[in-house]
């Protein structure tokens, strides 16, 4: 499966952090650093493997831990309508 940023999601700066407004749901969510990084990557569609690789490069972390963390964050972003699955 591949994921992409939802067209309904708009990034907003909030103090020293960021939040995403989701138009269809009229909701706003503050993003932690991992979620923010994912949101930025997902301007273009990407698979979990591609995201793991990208984050591994960015953070030099262990891939096993990154994969499980990413799965959790992706799940939340999907639940909130911030990202969505895509075919391409």
């Amino acid at each position: 499966m591949r994921y992409v940023r939802s067209s309904a999601a708009t990034l907003k700066t909030v103090g020293s952090g960021v939040a995403v407004y989701v138009a269809g749901r009229q909701a706003i969510h503050v993003l932690n650093s991992t979620a923010h990084l994912l949101f930025e990557y997902l301007a273009e569609p990407a698979s979990l493997d591609e995201l793991v690789l990208a984050l591994e490069t960015a953070t030099r972390g262990g891939s096993k831990k990154i994969r499980s963390d990413l799965e959790a964050v992706l799940g939340e972003l999907l639940d909130h309508g911030i990202i969505e699955p895509c075919e391409s």
Binding site: K12, T13, G15, G17, Y21, I28, V30
Partner: protein, 276 residues
């Protein structure tokens, strides 16, 4: 035959003609001691009507009730009036908050029930600061002006007794409504808007010690949105306004474990010259 009383209540952004039999009107009048014009012209926006001890509120084509007794009727009218205030707040952001003015600056205390919000406002007034608002704080997101909303502070009578036992109440009047409920009427009030300087988020946690922390808007955005009344503008615009507002003021969490620590912390955080 009950004597009918009419008067105009001035609230931020609106004037409401209130009509009621004297016994409930005199109770209701005491909730807003600074906000009456001393006369009314035109039809009533809210009318209290009584049949024996059963009361109703009429507003437009709507009726609220039945309500038992003048005090319950006065409380229900207050609830309706506060709803009207929030519904007509226009572009302003309505926080569930009390507040005081110090040196021309507004400090609002936002939070859910039972977090020490009203107690904090009372303690700040007792420290000599000017009362600015209670329950609803209306803030202009552009100018950051906080409108005075001078409703008396509602507390449990037993809690007010505990505050008075800890230290005598000197800068306000205690108005006991019945065995359980009381109001605190601050003697000194700010009658003009004041620019927002601080949003305090009180947290009463008995047995957990005291703690003060300055917060980043990103840390508290969801929490503070929970203290805002439903907006009258587009939701995205509302979020943006709240974000800009949070970026323009200080946000401070104040945790205390009882009256003594609360009084001490407020004295340190909001001294006579302004917030520390």
């Amino acid at each position: 035959m009950r004597e009918l009383v009419r008067d105009t209540l001035t609230l931020p952004g609106s004037e409401l003609v209130i009509e009621s039999p004297a016994e409930a009107f005199e109770l209701f009048r005491r909730f807003y001691p600074h906000s009456w014009q001393g006369g009314a012209a035109g039809p009533a926006d809210f009318s209290l009507v009584a049949d024996s001890d059963i009361w109703h509120i009429r507003h437009g084509t709507e009726t609220t009730g039945p309500l038992t007794g003048a005090l319950q009727a006065a409380f229900a009218l207050e609830y309706e009036v506060e709803n009207r205030l929030v519904a007509r707040c226009g572009d302003r952001i309505a926080f569930h908050a009390g507040g005081v003015e110090v040196g021309g600056r507004a400090h609002i205390i936002a939070g859910d029930a039972d977090t020490g919000k009203t107690t904090s406002t009372l303690l700040l007034v007792e420290l000599g600061h000017s009362f600015l608002c209670e329950e609803v704080a209306l803030v202009d997101p552009e100018s950051l002006a906080v409108e005075p909303h001078l409703r008396t502070l509602g507390l449990d009578a037993s809690h007010l007794d505990a505050i008075a036992k800890d230290r005598p109440i000197e800068r306000g009047t205690v108005d006991r409504l019945d065995d359980r409920l009381a109001r605190y009427l601050p003697h000194k009030a700010r009658l003009e808007p004041a620019r927002l300087e601080t949003i305090f988020l009180p947290l009463l946690r008995p047995g957990s010690g005291s703690h003060v922390a300055e917060l980043d808007p990103a840390e508290v955005l969801p929490e503070i949105l929970g203290y805002c009344f439903a907006p009258n503008v587009d939701q995205e615009l509302f979020f943006e306004r709240v974000i800009r507002l949070l970026e323009s003021c200080r946000i401070v969490r104040i945790q205390f474990d009882g009256l003594a620590t609360a009084r001490e912390l407020w004295q340190q955080l909001v001294p006579a010259g302004g917030a520390a």
